[in-house]
């Protein structure tokens, strides 16, 4: 079956306006009789819940944490993009659209991205009206910073806690609707299946994580805003609970998974320190505005550092290799994430890594401290500052900008980044892939929508920094309220959806059987044991660089691991009460199936694009030698995978990508 992305007719810049003018609306009296389920309370889910409730729908919202405020959006640090052009540096809706499509290596849908850029400015207005305390300059106006892969300053931020502030804004809007009785909030509940009635999404099966009760919840539409699935790699910057279950259940009920192999490996994370590690911590990309990335030029220096006999700060300027500045003079340290990550891996693979495992590079603020120190001295009338004065003033200036990040780094590593260059290494961070959605953000199950990181829509093969927060809020505040209304306008006569139909009962039974299966497993190993092994084999075979042989091996190994898991896992305790091992078991089982599909997708796509780097597809000569080689002739499409009853046996359906308003170019940051 071909996929219909339902892109509205007309010129790119008018599509969304035309769409909004032409959709059917639901009158307020009817909205009261319509229920919508939202799974997730991150930026996407919380904003969607609040907005839909304000419009008058009855909303039932779910999250697995003890409060909606703890969704992983809370951890986003650096900022949120918006085409406000407050800095007057040439930004515009078109430029944000262009940067996003280019940054995504021409693997996203023009119309969706344009709409995102178009509504972006309004997000900032909305958040300010809610009391989100963005950073401001001394004139009291909003401040901006710049992020990787672009040449303008369009990122709004709240120190290193932008996600927290935006999420608390959305949470406050959600809380207001909970207080009004328009949102029924289900904390500590996990969606374990999607229920379809007559082909339409009509509800979910959820488990109360405190009592273990299995519940049937019905609605006229279901929004999945369950976040990303980076935890398939076990170690990632995601929260421990981040998972794919909600999206995966929808997939198994017929929703296509799109571009599952497109994973973002973030270049600036704190390196792995031991085998016990449970998660990785991101150091915001904003650090690359002032920090310079380097490794030693000489192999003997690198060896000495790895052995612990030499310190990075003692290496002379001329013996440092600022490899990003060397390879990409136009963008330098601000190249997009995929490029920066691969470059780090390349240096470390060549033996120049700077910690005991050889898997780290330096991020150094030495020059920034001196530059800011001189500037501050000058501003304060000191035309002839001493080195000590420069250091003091410079460190204070750096602290004002990045203080909390430096503090976080020091807490984790026990090293002072003002004195010693930071050590960083790439880590899994974000998943561009996700549920396939059309222009309405609807999956190919009627009435089942996907928003935020859970869908695949806007970032192509690589996401630009500060664009996920923008997308989550755009989806929830400004897109879904229109598109869902259009769908629900045909449902006003349906009446309440019964939750005891055969379909609901069957789904409930299946969920219970699966739980019984886990509880009765006769093994001895904790779930984490399998999760770690899954992560390791995904990282090795489907990580920063991929090849056909590794991907095939990966698929085979996951299959074997899956069998071992079901035979050998042990879930202590009971199912009718708090049981965190049981929760994990369900999530890891789904992640394993997802892992298989990711390898399959990566194998199918034998080009390199964005975060997906196939070793078989690199430029062989010219100034781009060694860089990723995209293949537009054969791969300018979205890979949408259709479930066929068995894991790893999905069928590929291609949604061709057309670029009418943007010239497709080789992505060069040289």
């Amino acid at each position: 079956m071909a996929l219909d992305s339902k892109i509205p007719e007309g010129p790119l810049k008018d599509k969304w306006t035309n769409y909004k003018n032409q959709i059917d609306l639901v009158n307020p009296a009817n909205k009261r009789n319509i229920d919508v389920i939202v799974v997730g309370t991150g930026l996407a889910g919380a904003s969607a819940s609040a907005s839909l409730a304000e419009l008058g729908y009855n909303v039932k919202t779910f999250c697995f944490q003890d409060s909606p405020r703890r969704a992983h959006s809370i951890a986003a640090q650096g900022g949120i993009n918006a085409a406000k052009n407050y800095q007057g540096d040439g930004d515009s809706t078109y430029r944000l659209f262009y940067d996003t499509v280019k940054g995504g290596d021409y693997r996203s849908r023009e119309a969706n991205v344009y709409r995102l850029a178009e509504v972006s400015a309004n997000i900032i207005d909305q958040c300010v009206a809610q009391g989100v305390p963005f950073a401001r300059d001394y004139g009291g106006l909003l401040d901006n910073r710049s992020f990787g892969g672009v040449l303008v300053s369009r990122t709004f931020y709240a120190k290193g806690q932008t996600g927290q502030q935006l999420l608390l804004g959305a949470y406050s809007a959600l809380s207001r609707q909970i207080a009004k009785g328009k949102v029924e909030m289900h904390n500590r509940h996990e969606m374990l299946d999607l229920v379809k009635v007559d082909g339409k999404a009509r509800g979910i099966i959820a488990r109360n994580l405190v009592t273990g009760e299995i519940q049937r919840h019905s609605a006229h539409a279901v929004v999945i805003a369950s976040g990303g699935y980076g935890n398939v790699f076990f170690l990632s910057t995601n929260a421990m609970g981040s998972n794919v279950t909600a999206a995966w259940k929808a997939h198994k009920k017929g929703a296509h998974m799109a571009n599952p192999c497109f994973t973002q490996i973030h270049p600036t994370c704190i390196p792995v320190s031991g085998g016990f590690q449970s998660k990785l911590t991101l150091m915001s990309e904003s650090l690359r505005n002032d920090g310079r990335i380097w490794v030693p030029k000489k192999m003997e220096d690198a060896k000495a550092i790895q052995a612990g006999t030499l310190k990075g700060k003692d290496i002379a300027e001329e013996n440092r290799d600022y490899y990003l500045e060397r390879r990409y003079p136009a963008f330098g340290n601000l190249v997009p994430r995929d490029v920066a990550s691969r470059a780090a891996k390349e240096r470390c693979d060549a033996g120049f890594g700077v910690n005991k495992t050889g898997e780290a590079v330096y991020l150094d603020f030495k020059s920034a401290i001196v530059r800011y120190g001189k500037q501050e001295a000058f501003v304060h009338g000191n035309k002839n500052p001493s080195d000590a004065e420069i250091q003091t003033l410079g460190k204070a200036a750096v602290a004002a900008k990045y203080g909390n990040l430096f503090q976080m780094y020091e807490k984790i590593t026990d090293e002072n980044p003002y004195e010693m260059p930071m050590k960083i290494y790439p880590a899994v961070h974000y998943t561009m892939g996700g549920l396939w959605v059309d222009y309405d953000l609807m999956t190919d199950i009627p009435g089942c929508y996907a928003a935020g990181e859970a869908n695949f829509s806007d970032h192509g093969a690589n996401r630009l920094g500060a664009s996920a927060l923008m997308q989550g809020l755009a989806d929830g505040y400004f897109v879904l309220p229109y598109t869902i209304g259009n769908y629900l306008s045909k449902d006003i006569r349906t009446g309440e959806i019964p939750n005891d139909s055969a379909e609901f009962m069957a789904a409930e039974k299946e969920v219970k059987a699966r739980i019984d299966g886990f509880m009765n497993a006769k093994g001895t190993k904790p779930v984490d044991h399998f999760h770690m092994r899954l992560g390791k084999l995904m990282w090795e075979n489907c990580g920063m660089a991929r090849n056909a042989e590794g991907l095939q091996k990966g698929m085979k190994e996951i299959k074997a691991l899956k069998e071992e898991f079901f035979a050998n896992v042990r879930i202590p305790g009971v199912a009718n009460g708090v049981n965190q091992e049981l929760e994990k078991a369900g999530r890891v089982a789904d992640l394993m199936e997802l892992g298989e599909l990711m390898c399959k997708d990566a194998l199918e796509r034998s080009e390199s694009c964005g975060g997906h780097f196939r070793e078989e597809s690199v430029e062989l000569d010219g100034i781009q030698k060694g860089e990723a080689k995209r293949d537009d002739e054969n791969f300018s499409f979205v890979s949408a995978w259709q479930w066929n009853g068995e894991s790893g046996k999905q069928e590929l359906i291609k949604e061709p990508l057309e670029f009418k308003d943007i010239a497709v170019k080789q992505r060069s940051y040289k």
């Binding site: 904003s47 609040a50 907005s51 304000e54 944490q65 003890d66 409060s67 909606p68 405020r69 703890r70 992983h72 809370i74 951890a75 406000k84 509504v119 207005d125 909305q126 300010v128 009206a129 809610q130 009391g131 305390p133 950073a135 401001r136 300059d137 001394y138 009291g140 106006l141 909003l142 709240a158 927290q164 608390l168 406050s172 809380s175 207001r176 909970i178 207080a179 909030m185 904390n187 929260a239 421990m240 609970g241 031991g274 016990f276 449970s278 998660k279 976080m408 807490k411 026990d414 400004f478 309220p481 001895t524 904790p526 984490d528 042990r570 202590p572 009460g577 708090v578 965190q580 091992e581």
Partner: protein
Amino acid sequence: MKLLLKIWRQNGPQDKGKMVDYNVDGIEGDMSFLEMMDVLNSQLIEKGDEPVIFDHDCREGICGSCSMFINGEAHGPGRNVTTCQLHMRSFKDGETIFIEPWRAEAFPVIKDLMVDRSAFDRIIQAGGYVSVNTSGNTQDANSLPIPKEDADLAFDAATCIGCGACVATCKNASAMLFTSAKISQLSLLPQGQVEAKERVINMVNQMDLEGFGNCTNTGACEVECPKGISLDNIARMNREYLSATAKGKK
């Protein structure tokens, strides 16, 4: 390193609960406190015992899930850290560590170290927002400049992660620091002015309804707060409350 852990085990809200001893070995200084707990839990599971239940998610000090009372201190030794940011290098080989849940009437234990903090959500629902719809019909974000100083103070108050360490630390189990942080954030911004009076009254009432105790100015909450939320916020809230009630709004 080797450690002796004394951990609160409680099977459910009705269970009486007790401290149970556990030995762990092979703990490294670079491990976080929760990674040490992972090691213990793996051991328990392999033996067929139930793992210790605790809340956690982001493991980077921002979601506010983790909540352990360690050696008599909320989030353990060390200032400005959450439990997940505490590293084992803060402990010595052979040490005995006491691990308990937050204890407060308004935070009933669900199981082991996991407590119910939904009272915090209800305090926010009572007024911790600006009543503006998300329809997008708002004025341009820069049409109303806000002095940097106010914006920065509002931000500082807004960094509260809702962990509840303040309540767990306070001998009266007062939620003043948490509540005042939200009230301060909104009262420092022009957007929050319109509803300022109802907000402070409703939120303070809700706090009392939930069974949190009174503030007697001991300041322990500020010391244990992982985000360094300042006592000034409580003073600001008290001023707001006084002025709201003085104008006969109550």
